[in-house]
C-alpha cells in the first residue's frame, strides 16, 4: 500500500511538473532574452548565443548617463512613470476605499447599482475607450498634461478596486460597526479608526494593483501625452523603435531597469497581494 501511495503521489507531482516547467520556460525565455540583450555589446547582441562572449554593463552606463538621443530624458521620464503610478495608486485607493465603505458598511442606497455599473464598465475593452478618453481629456483641456493619464488610469482601475474592496469589506463582522456606534463613533471615526486599520491587507493589494497598472500602461500614455518631457518611460521606450537601426541593446537595458521596481514592489507585498485580492474572492 505504501508503494502504491508513493507512486500516485509521484505521478501527480510529475503531471504538475509537466505542465509547470514548460509554462515557466515559456514565461522566462523572453525575460532572459531581454537580459541577454541588456548585457551584450551592440554588435554581438543578436549572435544567438546563450550567454554573451563578453558580457558588459556598458549599456546600463549609457542608460544611466543618458548618453543616447533616445535616452536624453531617461531620469525625467522614469520620474514621470513613478509620479503617475504613485498618484494613480493613491487616488484609486482613496476612491475605492471610500466607495467600498459607503456601499458595504453604510449601506447607502444605490450601492448595488454602483457595483453593477462598475463591473459593467469592463464589458468594453480599455483599448476601445482610448479615443473617447482622448476626446474627453481634450474637452477638459488636459491633453499634454500628466494628469490626463493619471485620471484615465484611475478611471480604468477604480471599478475593479471598488469591487474587490467591497467584497473584502463584507467579511468584516457587523458587530464591530455596531459596537463602535454604541461607543460613540461617527461614520468618519468608524472609517478612520476601525475600518481602514482592519482593511490594510486589502488596501495594500488594491493600491499595488492600481500602481502597477499605471506603471505598465502604454496606449493611454502614448495617446494623451506627446511632449517628450511629459512621457512616462514605458512610452518613451516605444520611441526607440521609430528609427531604422534602433539600439536594441539600450532598449533592452532600459526595459530591464524599468521592470525592476514593479518586481521589487510585488515581491515586498506578495503576502498582501494573495490574501488581499482573494479576501474579496469568496464570501466567508
Amino acid at each position: 500500500m505504501k508503494r502504491a501511495w508513493s507512486l500516485r503521489k509521484v505521478s501527480t507531482e510529475a503531471q504538475l511538473l509537466l505542465v509547470g516547467i514548460p509554462v515557466l520556460i515559456w514565461t522566462m525565455i523572453p525575460v532572459y532574452h531581454l537580459f541577454l540583450f541588456a548585457i551584450s555589446p551592440r554588435d554581438k547582441a543578436t549572435s544567438g548565443r546563450l550567454w554573451p562572449e563578453n558580457p558588459t554593463l556598458q549599456n546600463f552606463e549609457f542608460v544611466f548617463g543618458q548618453k543616447h538621443f533616445y535616452l536624453n530624458h531617461f531620469w525625467l521620464q522614469l520620474g514621470n512613470s513613478l509620479m503617475i503610478a504613485i498618484a494613480t495608486g493613491l487616488i484609486t485607493l482613496f476612491i475605492a476605499t471610500t466607495a467600498a465603505f459607503a456601499i458595504s458598511r453604510l449601506k447607502v442606497r444605490g450601492g448595488r447599482t454602483v457595483m453593477n455599473l462598475a463591473l459593467f464598465t469592463y464589458f468594453i475593452p480599455a483599448a476601445f475607450l482610448a479615443v473617447p478618453m482622448y476626446k474627453t481629456m481634450a474637452t477638459y483641456g488636459l491633453l499634454n498634461n500628466r494628469w490626463s493619464l493619471i485620471l484615465a488610469m484611475v478611471t480604468i482601475a477604480s471599478p475593479y478596486c471598488i469591487w474587490v474592496l467591497k467584497q473584502a469589506s463584507d467579511k468584516l463582522p457587523w458587530e464591530l460597526d455596531e459596537a463602535a456606534r454604541i461607543d460613540g463613533a461617527t461614520p468618519l471615526q468608524l472609517f478612520r479608526l476601525v475600518y481602514v486599520p482592519l482593511m490594510v491587507p486589502s488596501l495594500v493589494a488594491v493600491g499595488t494593483y492600481a500602481l502597477l497598472l499605471a506603471w505598465n500602461e502604454y496606449l493611454y500614455g502614448f495617446l494623451l501625452l506627446s511632449k517628450e518631457t511629459d512621457l512616462p518611460l514605458a512610452v518613451a521606450l516605444g520611441n526607440f523603435l521609430s528609427a531604422d537601426d534602433s539600439p536594441w541593446e539600450l532598449l533592452m537595458a532600459t526595459g530591464f531597469i524599468y521592470a525592476l521596481p514593479p518586481a521589487a514592489i510585488y515581491y515586498a507585498f506578495k503576502r498582501y497581494m494573495v490574501s488581499g485580492l482573494t479576501a474579496g474572492a469568496a464570501k466567508g
Binding site: P173, E175, L176, E178, A179, A180, R181, I182, D183, G184, A185, Q189, L193, V194, P197, L198
Partner: protein
C-alpha cells in the same frame, strides 16, 4: 436613576410584523432578562433599545425621556455582544478606552476608568494583549470591561454566554451577577437559556412570537406560570404536560387521562368536561411502591450524581421525575406515582391559559 420603559413597541421588517405592541417597565438598578425561543423578538427589542434597529411604533424611554430619535451614542447605554465584537487591531486596554478616546477624554480620566474596570474584572495582566491572544472567557470579560468603562445608565447584554462552553458559562453567569450586585446598574439581558434567566434575573420577561407571555420573578414564573407556553419553557427538566378532561362531581374534582384519575388543586376553576392540559413538574412527584397513587412503569434511569432523573410511562404518556439522591429502581419496574396536588398546573386546552 435609570429606569427603562417600553410603551406599545412594534417592529416591522417590511410587511412582516415581528413585535406586536410590547409594554413593560424596568426599575432603576433592576436586572431584567428577556427570554424566549429563537425568533421570539427578544434580540430585536434589545437592539431597538440600543438604537441599532428602527422602532416601527411606540416609544422607548430611559429615565422618563423618550429616546426613539436619539443615536446609540447619545442614549448612555453600553452593550455586550454575543460575539464580543472586540476591535482586533487594538489591545485590550485600547479596546476598553476606545469610547473615551472618541469623546477626547483626558488621559487621567481614561487611565482611571480603565484601571477600575480592569481591577473589577481581573484584566490587569491582559491590558497589552490583543483579542486574538485571549480565550473566549477572557474576551467576554474584556467586552464587559469596555461596557463598564462607559459608566452607562443601562447595560445591555445580547446572549453574551452563548459562545462559551458549559463550564465557563456557569462561571461567567456568577461573574455577571456579582458585577450587577456591585455596580447596581440597570441591566437588560437577552438569552434563550431559561436556566440563565432563572439564576440571574430579578425579573424575567418571557417572550414568544413577538409578544410578552408573562413577566415576573423567577419563582413567580416557576410556581405560577400563566399559560402553557411559560409553564413548559421555564424549568429544567421541563414540566410534564399531557391532555386530559376535567371532571367535577359535587365538591370532588379530577382529570381523566390515560385511564387514570389525576388529582387537581381545590382552587381549580373550569367546567365539567372541559378539555385541559395537565402539568406537573418533575420535582413535584414521588415514586412509591406499586398500588399507591398513579400506576406507572419505569423506563429509563439517569443518575446525575446528586439527583436522579427517572422516565416513567403511564399508559402512552412519558413522565420525567427528579429525585434527590439515589434510587434502587430498575427499568421495567412497576411503581406508584404520588402527585403533590398543590403543585399541579391546569391549562385550558383551547387557549393555553391557566385554570387555577
Amino acid at each position: 436613576m435609570a429606569s427603562v420603559s417600553f410603551d406599545n413597541i412594534e417592529k416591522n421588517f417590511g410587511k412582516v410584523k415581528v413585535i406586536h405592541g410590547i409594554s413593560f417597565d424596568i426599575a432603576d438598578g433592576e436586572f431584567v432578562v428577556l427570554v424566549g425561543p429563537s425568533g421570539c423578538g427578544k434580540s430585536t427589542l434589545l437592539r431597538m433599545l440600543a438604537g441599532l434597529e428602527e422602532i416601527s411604533g411606540g416609544d422607548i424611554s430611559i429615565d422618563g425621556k423618550v429616546i426613539n430619535d436619539l443615536d446609540s451614542k447619545d442614549r448612555d447605554i453600553a452593550m455586550v455582544f454575543q460575539s464580543y465584537a472586540l476591535y482586533p487591531h487594538m489591545t485590550v486596554g485600547q479596546n476598553m478606552a476606545f469610547s473615551l478616546k472618541l469623546r477626547k477624554a483626558d488621559k487621567a480620566l481614561t487611565d482611571e476608568r480603565v484601571g477600575k474596570a480592569a481591577k473589577i474584572l481581573n484584566l490587569n495582566a491582559l491590558l497589552d494583549r490583543y483579542p486574538r491572544e485571549l480565550s473566549g472567557g477572557q474576551r467576554q470579560r474584556v467586552a464587559m470591561g469596555r461596557a463598564i468603562v462607559r459608566d452607562p445608565k443601562v447595560f445591555l447584554f445580547d446572549e453574551p454566554l452563548s459562545n462559551l462552553d458549559a463550564k465557563l458559562r456557569v462561571a461567567m453567569r456568577a461573574e455577571i451577577k456579582s458585577l450587577h450586585q456591585r455596580l447596581k446598574t440597570t441591566t437588560v439581558y437577552v438569552t434563550h437559556d431559561q436556566i440563565e434567566a432563572m439564576t440571574m434575573a430579578d425579573r424575567i420577561v418571557v417572550m414568544h412570537d413577538g409578544i410578552v407571555e408573562q413577566i415576573g420573578t423567577p419563582l413567580e414564573l416557576f410556581d405560577h406560570p400563566c399559560n402553557l407556553f411559560v409553564a413548559q419553557f421555564i424549568g429544567s427538566p421541563a414540566m410534564n404536560v399531557f391532555e386530559g378532561t376535567l371532571r367535577r362531581d359535587g365538591a370532588r374534582m379530577w382529570v381523566d387521562a390515560d385511564g387514570q384519575q389525576w388529582p387537581v388543586p381545590a382552587s381549580t376553576s373550569g367546567k365539567d368536561g372541559q378539555a385541559v392540559h395537565y402539568g406537573i413538574r418533575p420535582g413535584n412527584m414521588l415514586m412509591l411502591e406499586p398500588g399507591v397513587g398513579i400506576s406507572a412503569k419505569v423506563e429509563v434511569i439517569e443518575p446525575t450524581g446528586a439527583e436522579t432523573e427517572i422516565i416513567v410511562k403511564v399508559g402512552e404518556t412519558r413522565f420525567t421525575l427528579v429525585l434527590h439522591g439515589r434510587t434502587d429502581a430498575r427499568p421495567d419496574q412497576s411503581v406508584g406515582l404520588q402527585i403533590d396536588v398543590d403543585m399541579v398546573h391546569l391549562f385550558d386546552r383551547a387557549d393555553g391559559k391557566r385554570l387555577s
